[in-house]
């Protein structure tokens, strides 16, 4: 009787899981398969598409760099320190995940636009956001950074504070302790958070289209081609972006998994 129950449980679990996998894979695979090799090849030699790919990944890398610079310290503080309002702060950090990205775009425009406070401030040193690459970067940073902060904080949480304490009693400074103890133990989770952040940035449409429609990123280009020229123009670009994202994910997942194995052995 119990055996039977376990079986049905397994079967139901497997069926439901399979449905979800199909649900995710089918549209993506269809987009790639029905695009046709010629169309994809043609699109890959389309100067406009290549330029958009360049802009998109360039902006995503800059936003990831900025994210690391600010997100890691914040994650560290959230993990190690207790202070009043911490729960609220953690909620605020996750806000970009829950608000519509068009709303995020409007919020950013209000602050980084030509008449916004930061917009004016940065204009004095020659950085502009509306229809500039810096606008794309802030949009990507805004919608993506919660992934990095959350992943890093979780990673820091998992590290035994004892380990840091021991290092400190042995005379390591806070800096040394962070660089040689904390970071090496947490980097894998941080990397996967960073990849999530980058992926979110690359795929961002709503916020980017509001603050910086030009220069055209790939998601905006897909939208423009779809709207203006129809499915046939948009589909190969979508297929290419799916393939690139998939490749990037596989590479980074295997990379971090391997390193993890080595870490375990050492």
């Amino acid at each position: 009787m119990i055996e039977k129950n376990v079986d049905t449980f397994l079967i139901v679990t497997i069926i439901l899981s399979t449905l979800v996998v199909i649900f995710i894979l089918f549209p993506l695979v269809t987009t790639i398969v029905t695009s046709g090799r010629d169309e994809i090849r043609q699109t890959l030699s389309d100067h406009e598409v290549l330029r958009s790919l360049g802009i998109t990944f360039f902006a995503a890398f800059i936003s990831m760099g900025l994210g690391l610079a600010g997100g890691i310290p914040l994650a560290y503080i959230l993990s190690r320190k207790k202070f009043p309002g911490k729960t609220i702060l953690e909620g605020i950090i996750n806000l970009p995940l829950v608000i519509p990205h068009t709303a995020a775009g409007i919020a950013l425009l209000m602050v980084f636009g030509r008449n916004g406070m930061f917009g004016k401030l940065f204009a004095s040193i020659g950085i502009f956001f509306t229809d500039h690459i810096a606008g794309i970067v802030v949009a990507m940073l805004f919608v993506g950074i919660p992934f990095l902060i959350n992943a890093s904080r979780d990673a820091f949480d998992l590290i035994d504070p004892e380990l840091e304490l021991v290092a400190q009693t042995d005379g390591a400074s806070n800096w040394q302790c962070f660089w040689f103890i904390t970071l090496p133990n947490a980097w894998r989770a941080i990397l996967s958070g960073l990849v999530m952040m980058g992926a979110r940035g690359v795929s961002e449409f709503g916020a980017v289209a509001i603050i910086a429609y030009h220069p055209i990123t790939v998601p905006v280009l897909i939208f423009e081609r779809f709207q203006g020229f129809g499915l046939q123009s948009a589909q190969p670009i979508a297929a290419i972006l799916i393939i690139i994202s998939l490749a990037a994910f596989i590479v980074i997942r295997t990379l971090s998994a391997k390193k993890n194995g080595e870490d375990d052995r050492s």
Binding site: L109, R114, F128, D131, H132, I210, E224, L231, Q232
Partner: protein
């Protein structure tokens, strides 16, 4: 506890039945309209649905060219098409055969309203205290002034704005206006040439402004309003009705330039915009300079012809007209029918044949 949850769940499921709020069967009529009528159409949608509870209007707004593409290229089931340029309907719908029905996508339209192009600005716009109908082109050309224009590939307001700037050269007697306005602003230049007196503007396939350009472009003129309000734009080419609906300031353009006066047709037709690329499946549209005319039609593949006719009757009838007027977008009375014989009988009351039909 479990019991309470279960009972409340059942109650929640039953609630809609108890209150009798189950949605009645409604016919959905899908209306794709030019962005410039979004504000009055919202009011008309509400009023129409209140009077016709059996119809649910589903409105969607885009640049006018986009509106038609949704029918002919994206093959969406659309029941009513409203464009800010009636000429797009013959060019992009009459001339294109729907392979499923072997019919053109449309075989009649009604030209029901006009508009005037103008320059919109706010109290925070740079040089707003000096701009006027005589110097606008000079103020807007200044490098520190940000000007919004709709994308001429997708929106009628876009190619009309380019026409206005070109026409301004003759009107103000300054042959450099277009050049001063646009030269060096785009990654692929917008070129013009003179064909026996006809000024032809060539729009390249890629219309993207350079970084630090004083021009900012969006897919539809209506999308420029938010950028004006946020201060990211100082000026934008918009229709007068839209400017009034958003309480923005405007520079009136002279009748020879605002594209809205029948008496000045001879001025408007000195200019033409061509898309210099072949990406569209069927036709390469040429946009002739002419008086602004809004067009409305029912695509031949609409599956709700009758309901769509009811909506158009409402719009062109007394109540629709009153709402449009309230939103500063008066309708023609009567409207003009192109291919008059094909116009559904229920709509003929509001329409006279197009004069040169």
């Amino acid at each position: 506890m479990k019991k309470i949850i279960r009972i409340s769940f059942i109650l929640m499921c039953l609630l809609p039945c108890l209150t009798g709020c189950r949605p009645k069967e409604k016919n959905t009529v899908v209306v794709f309209a030019a962005g410039s009528v979004i504000t009055p159409m919202k009011a008309i949608e509400q009023a129409f649905e209140a009077e016709n509870p059996d119809i649910d209007l589903q409105m969607e707004y885009h640049g006018s060219i986009q509106v038609i593409r949704h029918v002919t290229e994206l093959k969406e089931p659309i029941d009513v098409v409203i464009t800010a340029d009636h000429a797009l309907i013959p060019t992009l719908m009459y001339a294109v055969t729907n392979t499923e029905t072997n019919q053109p996508y449309a075989d009649w339209y009604i030209r029901f309203a006009t508009n005037h192009l103008a320059v919109a600005y706010t109290d925070a716009s740079r040089y707003q205290d000096e701009v006027n109908s005589e110097n606008w082109y000079e103020v807007l050309s200044r490098p520190d002034v940000k000007v919004g224009i709709a994308d001429p590939r997708f929106d009628a307001a876009g190619y009309r704005s380019f026409m206005v700037v070109k026409l301004a050269e003759e009107y103000y007697g300054d042959p450099d206006i277009f050049f001063d306005f646009f030269a060096g602003e785009f990654r692929s230049p917008v070129k013009t040439n003179d064909e026996d007196g006809l000024q032809v503007i060539h729009i390249p396939e890629i219309v993207e402004t350079k970084p630090n350009s004083h021009i900012i472009m969006r897919g539809a003129s209506i999308q420029l309003i938010a950028l004006l309000e946020s201060g990211d734009l100082d000026y934008a080419f918009e229709y007068e009705s839209v400017i009034a609906q958003h309480d923005l300031n405007l520079v009136h353009l002279p009748d020879q330039l605002n594209m809205g006066e029948a008496a000045y047709q001879d001025y408007y037709d000195d200019v033409e915009v061509r898309l210099d690329f072949q990406r569209f499946q069927s036709v390469n549209p040429v946009f002739k300079g002419e008086r602004i005319g809004y067009g409305i039609t029912i695509p031949t593949n609409s599956s709700h012809q009758e309901d769509a006719e009811r909506f158009i009757s409402y719009l062109l009838g007394e109540k629709g007209r009153a709402i449009m007027l309230e939103y500063q977008h008066p309708l023609f009375e009567p409207a003009y029918g192109n291919n008059y014989d094909n116009i559904p009988a229920s709509l003929k009351d509001y329409v006279v044949p197009e004069p040169n039909d």
